[in-house]
Amino acid sequence: MKKKNGIGLLGTIFFSVLAALYMYPIVMVVLNSLKVETAISTSGAFELPTGETFAGLTNFVSAISSQGFLKSLFYSVFITVTSVGLILLCCSMCAWYINRVHNLISKLMYLLCAFSMVVPFQMVMFTLSNTADKLDIFGLRFNNPYTICFIYLGFGAGLAVFMFSGFMKSIPLEIEEAAMIDGCSPLQIYFKIVLPILKPTMISVGVLEAMWVWNDYLLPTLVLDIKKYRTIPMLIQYFRGSYGKVEMGPMMACIVMTVLPIVIIYIAGQKHIIKGVLDGSVKG
């Protein structure tokens, strides 16, 4: 039952103002990204671009052409999509196995996955980046954007296996047994029965892992060669590094081009994203 005497119109006005203030930092960056380089100053960040200081899209053009934004975008998108795809497929298969086969490995795997979720990254930071640098499996190295996805699979496995396992317990065993009697192999059972049932959880896990991989800064910085490969968070940090004067205009443009797609994806898939975050928070 909702209260009848809600806070009504006054509340709507109050929260509209609050929401506008809440969005201001993003609006401010958008406005500054439209100014010419000389007009962007520390104290003048609040000023609106005027006729003289309006730069159009030049900052965006220079961010794309000279700062390598598109390349970074490609690496970020590639790493996120591949890692999340790998995590969803491999971890759901693994979770199914350890929930159906009861032996020591299954139990151990589950406990270690739960454990890995509380371990801070700094604990394995140095050794992991060293392993990724040195490890060489038949010429396969892990220090480029194409194989770093495997590292993400390992580090993201904890949350994914844990969440899939939680959901797996509610799937009735009878369906799978019936399929077994009808002559399905485990692989067929997995793809034809388990996977479709898992779909809502897949989306939730996918949302959580994608948010993490997309925004992750430290792992790619330590593992990848920053001169060759930069993901978007690395690019923005690199901008400010000790490489001469910071060009504020293109940097603002970069931030805008990073934030806007997230906002658009969020508005389009809001339902799934909020459900994913809620599902993920239950792990606590």
Partner: protein, 283 residues
Amino acid sequence: MEKALKRWFPLFVLPTLVAFIIGFIWPFIQGVYLSFCQFTTIDRTTFVGVQNYVNAFQDAEFGSAFRFTVSFAVVSTILINVLAFLLALALTQKMRGTNIFRTVFFMPNLIGGIVLGYIWQILINAVLSNLGQPLLALNSKAGYWGIIILMCWQQIGYMMIIYISGLQNVPGDLIEAASIDGATPLQTLFKIKLPMVMPSITICLFLTITNSFKLFDQNLALTAGEPAHATEMLALNIYNTFYFRAGPQWKGIGQAKAVIFFVLVVAIALIQLRATRSKEVQQ
């Protein structure tokens, strides 16, 4: 079925297991071992016992990072949870536009820490320079409150969503019964709603405390520990110990700090979970 599935171990489990060993288990074990060694690369290590731990505890910067982190975690956890709960209460009332407001307040949570850090650095520096105050790089007080404001901005929406879903699960007949018995709205809040959303409070406290302790990206992007390590938090301190301190002993000390940090995070999470779990009521 168990038997048939068992043979498929290499396909179902092995990829995840191998990646998990490479990405987590092996680095973790190696990390624990290396915290007892002096080393500059992993191949050249000499066992030094607990010397690294002794040095880590004697490192003044580590101590100040610890104090800074604790004070930040306490203030930000309280602020985030109180504000998020109030927002959730307001946005579950009958009012136009609640869905849009929820959408807006949740949004910052999706933007990465590095980007958030820079957005707020620009904003806070603009405010400071208009007030004639020293900028973030020289102003540790502004740095401290800057990180708190930033984290509030990012996390309030997230916690609000969890509180909203908790509040929506409070059975309507309970509230109705209370109002028939003559409970004031304030009494309903403290005697019914709060106890009923205790599971949400557990989750939110857990998330905000561990997030505060593990905070790295925002700290690096907003202040980078300036001025003179005064706004450096534990995670950033460990990172700097590893990569920006000259001398062969620092990598070992960094690893020892990381182990201390890990034990601390786990201990806090366990204590906090136990404390709030005991206050939950059965529905």
